[in-house]
Symmetry: C2
Subunit: 467 residues, 2 copies
């Protein structure tokens, strides 16, 4: 099939727009520049631009040129779902384990790998390697300090200070990732049979911990933009006392919502009034698409009731296995639980990370990464809009890694899981995010990976399987 | 003070004997060689040797020379202690946490550090660093396989095959150390209020896990040579059913005992008859002072009742934070618990370790290390004999890292803990090894560190404080 020159150029420019080469509102290169860059005539360039304009990818402004105008996303946001009133035990279906077992939970096409440059990781690894080489025998013969290396705890203190949380290294304990921290937090605050309130849709890792610890759950519906519905929480706990409430105030999975200040304050008032702990999952806290990372809920914690759990797994590398917990009044107990469950964390990794943060590399890298995530979010939103139009709703998170998508009620996203998996495409069905089998017509889609040609094709396979 | 030449030579030789430069029974260099090496007269050499002979460090054999004869250790072994009959909850005294928190639990003088060459760790670190540099971005964006990297599990399979345990990589799950593995094993086999039989004296890490999981304990007295008293176990569990029994058949802490085959077989018969799981702590399994590492109990496990927990922390490096669990019939549940508690282990560390083992470095290093440990054990035994004679009893383990020492009944070793700590000397009191406050007149002393001049002085401080 013959491809005309204007078609080739149009495809090339469309690809660049999808890949985030230009930002929304940015001016495209001039017609003269495009002619020179691609070795084509002015007529060919104009033809290609007119076609992009009619598809609403760009808009012409007289005497100024062509400007990128990615389609405005005005899809309705996903609905809140009515959650059951009474607490219930947690039973996690087998599909949870399957998905959680797959490293792929945040990638629809794991086989595609990851082709981005990773200079920051090369540098971080160099710092870790240097620590490994320095006095290896000391590291071999002594365990770490119980709460983790002081240098890393100091570096974390500084990172949180920038997010308006004043803390000290003594208030931080290093863990083996955020899942480990959440496990310690629930172990420290609850006994078997206790009830815990969890925002719904919820992070499936928390549901699995609760099943293991035999805790009862009250799901509290959460809004795709505003997060936990504190009014619903107040109503439910007046009837059913709770020991803890698990929330992700900043960009938690799957919705990527952000709790407004008023809700945060009200939540802490409730915690004081009803004497429960708030377990804050802050793993996405550094991934705000604005220039500033928002304060964690814990910054408002005047009464030692917020246990903050965090990790470098989402912002830097999943392979570090380094997280942390700030346990408020329970810190001693949490350090003890950390020792009981895993004794220590590798000292070289902690030392390398501390240096990486102290020298500003972490901050620089996260700034770049957030920029890339924002572009990837926009590409994903555009694809959804193009293919599903107004037939579906989805969240438009201002941070984090995921979109939360609602399909028409007659669709069950779980049904397509196995079939897509056989094609190498991993779908994350909505039922994963509830202990009560809610969200059968929802799914989570992550924009943590660049939307390569093959991933876009996988996305289309997913669309076709579902609608 | 003037030091005579023969005194200087005598001290030098004594130091060499203590530091294991010569083995027991080995011939010392000839008188002529000693004259040449130290630039002294024959009379001086003879004077020094006669003094060593009268102290029973060496023995002269006519026409052959002087032979090393380290004092025969024939001290009685520590007594078994009567343990309470009925199960009881576990409450761990605060001193446990203090000692467990100290990286120093295996070193009486942590400030002295560790001066041995560590070429093997430099090599291992190089292998890990190489993995870190290779495709760092892949490691950053995907979690590990749920059970851990297949390469490392294959390497472990081969190590265990050499110890007569035929297993497959599918039966192994990588954990974050042995403590983590023991935690998973007790979580998988027991619920709150269940009873677990534990050898007494017991590893304090297990007692802490049991306290946290609210399990009841039956202590079964263990012999310093033969380990768990299976007859006592049979009697107790006929009255008090148990869900699991925790044992260290090979050189467990604190006694370093080794269960004979008949006891192992009887234990497995009991497990089958009374339907409980045997949790085998195999962390010292590779540290046998003979040339062959003994088979783990699990090698006899025909009915899927033995859960083996192991780690590289004692044989290679505590900073790796890599252990494993072979969960028999419960393997799926254990992998799931691993995911819930900590998700994954670092892939570069696993990859580097797999290569280190596959290329034979692990085996070579462990062989050297065991040799050194045996010499350090002999030095420690000698010191004990010299200072305490027959006033005390101690175990004479054929593997592992520790001696178990019994003092006269009126002595309470815990009383000296704080005072010694203020001098930088860490004593590990016997009460740590029981949930019932047994062993007040016992202590554990590790020979994992070389008995440097400063450590020997610390040992003497410890002697003086106690007797």
């Amino acid at each position: 099939m013959k491809i005309y020159r204007y078609e080739a150029l149009e495809n090339e420019l469309r690809e660049q727009l999808l890949n985030g080469r230009y930002r929304n509102g940015e001016r495209l290169p001039s017609i003269r520049t495009l002619c020179a860059d691609y070795g084509v005539s002015k007529a060919t360039v104009l033809h290609a631009l007119h076609r992009l304009e009619s598809d609403q990818w760009v808009v012409a402004q007289p005497k100024s040129g062509y400007f990128v105008q990615l389609p405005t996303i005005k899809s309705p946001k996903p609905n809140k779902v009515d959650t059951p009133v009474a607490p219930a035990p947690v039973t996690v279906p087998a599909i949870f384990r399957d998905i959680m077992g797959r490293s792929a939970a945040f990638d629809i096409l794991p086989a595609d790998g990851f082709a981005e440059s990773s200079q920051h990781l090369v540098l971080l690894n160099r710092l870790i390697s240097r620590r490994l080489r320095t006095h290896p025998e000391q590291k071999a013969n002594y365990y770490d300090e119980p709460a983790g290396k002081i240098g890393l705890r100091e570096a974390l203190t500084e990172l949180y200070r920038q997010r308006l949380l004043n803390t000290t290294p003594e208030e931080i304990c290093i863990t083996s990732g955020c899942q480990h921290a959440l496990f310690l937090a629930l172990m420290a605050t609850c006994k078997r049979g206790d009830t815990v309130a969890v925002e719904s849709p919820a992070f499936y890792g928390v549901l699995q911990i609760m099943e293991q610890l035999e805790l009862n759950i009250i799901e509290i519906s959460a809004d795709a933009e505003m997060g936990l519905d504190v009014t619903e929480l107040a109503e439910k706990i007046s009837r059913w006392p709770i020991k803890a409430c698990v929330v992700s105030p900043n960009f938690g999975t799957p919705t990527g919502s952000q709790m407004p200040l008023a809700s945060r304050q009200r939540l802490l008032q409730l915690a004081l009034q009803h004497q429960f702990y708030v377990i804050e999952d802050d793993i996405y806290g550094d991934l705000a698409f604005g220039s500033e990372s928002p304060a964690p809920l814990k910054a408002l914690d005047e009464h030692q009731q917020v246990i903050l759990c965090g990790s470098f797994s989402k912002s830097l590398s999943r392979d570090l296995r380094i997280g942390w917990i700030m346990g408020a009044a329970l810190q001693d107990k949490l350090v003890q639980l950390k020792l009981i469950t895993q004794l220590a964390s590798p000292q070289a990794v902690q030392g390398g990370l501390a240096q990486f943060i102290a020298e500003g590399h972490y901050r620089r890298y996260v700034a770049q990464y957030k920029q890339r995530l924002r572009e990837q979010r926009d590409q994903l939103l555009y694809e959804l809009k193009q293919h599903w139009g107004d037939k579906i709703s989805y969240s438009q998170p201002k941070g984090g890694l995921c979109l939360w998508v609602e399909l028409p009620a007659h669709i069950d996203t779980q049904i397509s899981y196995q079939g897509l998996l056989e094609q190498g495409v991993v779908l994350t069905p909505g039922v994963l995010f509830s202990a009560h089998g809610l969200y059968h017509n929802y799914l989570r889609i992550s924009f943590s990976q660049p939307l390569t040609t093959r991933r876009r094709a996988a996305l289309h396979q997913l669309f076709q399987a579902l609608l």
